[in-house]
């Protein structure tokens, strides 16, 4: 699969449409980064509480892959869900308001950071029990298959979650029933403080182990948004053709702690600095400029618009109403 460098060497002339696509990828990644920075700040201020897991460093994975999806496709993910939500186009104001626990939030303030949902966008959660999303992804895919919607399910998960039984059970069932699921592993080398080599048999690569389940699999550099996009395009095409599962491993890294409560004592020295050299928010805009897609000025314009969007989302969240106490019992049962 092509890397940024190969892509650059091709020096193909981009059409306007392609250029705009590239800029949109940049815009989304930058939006996620700024959103996450704002979340961190507001956690410190006490506006956001509970557990907060940031997506900083992993932006290229969500943005590259979700750019290949259609409206009828479902997304389901784990608690590190802000990046997927934003890449799917969930309302930024309502997302921030949810983190602030406000009535205007995506889930009316009831779910919080780890449990973002937007069923209209087929964004089926944010799930905070590690491994909990796998079986549900199977069911979403069963419905797609049963109803012949043509849609597929993208199931995001972390390296740590592959040690739950549900992971293995789901890969098996998805294969046996030939269900349209694209499994996207975000291999950021750690599950909380546990480095892969301390908790996993079989080494640092996961895609090779999927053979057992007879599911086609590939690996891609998750820090390279174009590579992720290209790999996902191939994967999605395959799922639509065969109706069955595909497994894509994205090698990525979080530049920050597991949650805001993490001192990161477990990191190997220099590791973060090394990975930061691959920061998609540094490398990709550089490439955009060198490929003649946009100038500094164009990028600055995008940035300042995004900055405003994020500022406005914080303002929206801050000024939104709290849910009223009478709402406590709402939404337990469907009336």
């Amino acid at each position: 699969m092509a890397t940024l460098k190969e892509e650059k060497n091709k020096r193909v002339k981009k059409t306007d449409k392609e250029k705009n696509q590239m800029l949109e990828l940049f815009r989304q990644m930058y939006l996620i980064r700024q959103f996450e920075l704002a979340c961190g700040e507001n956690y410190t201020k006490g506006n956001i509480r509970g557990f907060l897991h940031l997506y900083i460093g992993q932006e290229a994975t969500a943005v590259g892959s979700i750019s290949c999806l259609e409206e009828e496709d479902y997304i389901i993910t784990h608690y590190r869900d802000h990046g997927h939500a934003i890449a799917r186009g969930l309302d930024v104001n309502r997302s921030m308001a949810e983190l602030f626990g406000k009535k205007t939030g995506l889930s009316k303030g009831k779910g919080g950071s780890m449990h973002l949902f937007d069923s209209a966008k087929k964004f089926m959660g944010g799930h905070a029990i590690v491994g909990g999303q796998f079986p549900v992804a199977t069911g979403l895919a069963l419905a797609c298959q049963y109803k012949k919607t043509g849609g597929l399910v993208v199931c995001y998960f972390g390296d740590g979650s592959t040690n739950q039984g549900t992971y293995h059970e789901t890969l098996n069932l998805a294969s046996v029933w030939n269900l349209p699921i694209l499994f996207i592993l975000e291999n950021n080398k750690y599950g909380m403080g546990s480095a892969i080599d301390r908790v996993r048999a079989g080494g640092e690569d996961f895609y090779t182990g999927v053979d057992t389940y007879d599911i086609p699999a590939a690996q891609v550099n998750g820090m390279d948004v174009l590579a992720v996009k290209e790999a996902t395009e191939i994967a999605v095409k395959k799922v639509r053709q065969t109706g069955g599962p595909f497994y894509l491993e994205c090698k990525t890294f979080r530049f920050v702690g597991h949650s805001l409560a993490d001192g990161q004592k477990y990191r190997k020295s220099n590791e973060i600095t090394e990975w930061e050299k691959q920061d998609p928010l540094v490398k990709f805009p550089k490439w955009i400029k060198s490929a003649g897609i946009a100038t500094d000025k164009d990028l600055e314009k995008i940035k300042s618009e995004v900055n405003k969007t994020v500022e406005k989302s914080v303002e929206f969240a801050e000024t939104s109403e709290e849910p009223s106490k009478s709402e406590l019992d709402d939404d337990i049962y469907k009336k």
Binding site: S107, G109, A128, S161, P323
Partner: protein, 319 residues
Amino acid sequence: MREAIKKGLEEALDTDPNVLIMGEDIGEYGGAYAVTDGFLSKFGPERIKDTPISEATFIGTGIGAAAAGLRPVIELMSISFSLVGFDQIVNMAANIRYMSGGQIDVPMVIRAPTGAGVQLAATHSQSFETWLAEVPGIFCVCPSNPKDALGLLRSSIKNNNPVIFAEPALLYGLKGDVPDEYYEIPLGSASISQEGNDISLVSYGAGMKILHETSEILAKENISCEIIDLRSLSPIDYDTIGESVKKTNRLVAVDTARKNGGIMAEVVANVQESFNDWLDGPIVRIGADDVPWPYNKNLEAEAYPSSEKISEKILKTLI
């Protein structure tokens, strides 16, 4: 509180070579709530075992290890995650001794933070000690202060059965005196946390602070409260509760878990059966609202029992 639990674990590791600890991120990371911080370097990786995120399997591993003569202490990051290993706890740990006609013991402790109050929302705020307390074959305790935590942990690790040791997440930072001389607190014993004459209040864990606040409010109305700390949810110490009811003739039972199916439903039913003649009024039962725990702070507080709500209900119902 954290220090007391830590002390109990260190002591067990120091004195019994068969004790070992297993759980997610308990070693290198030092534990999600920092209880086992420093243990890895002190006791080594053979006894401080970081596990993969595989609750069913490492709980089951504890069962097997216990059946073969070790004394594993399992740490869960949250009692909500016990659900992933429920089959192992309920079907296996609790039943093996009985099914084998007493041939096999499972001396294992499962420690887990429990309860709501820190805005972790529906999946991370539950109190499943109330579910586990129903299962015959396992003990279930929950301390409300550092002294009890150490005394109960000592007994739990020495016990030859599976023990659920629920640690209220809200209380890890709680300060309190811990005696220097060695003591144990037997499983199945409640304590009188405050003596009084007019009403008996019972709760456990994070509920105890609420009972003491309630007592202060009622003291202003010249009502003297006796406060009982259940400490053990299985078995329940009905002797202590009964004695108190005989003295005050009134009972108020408070759960910080959901009211529906909470352990106080059990307490109330048993007191009703056994001490009905001693009661001078209806038993008052209060618990958390029967809703999934909301993330929003105000809603969470609304669902949680408070001393205001409790004292109001007492004044309305009993006085």
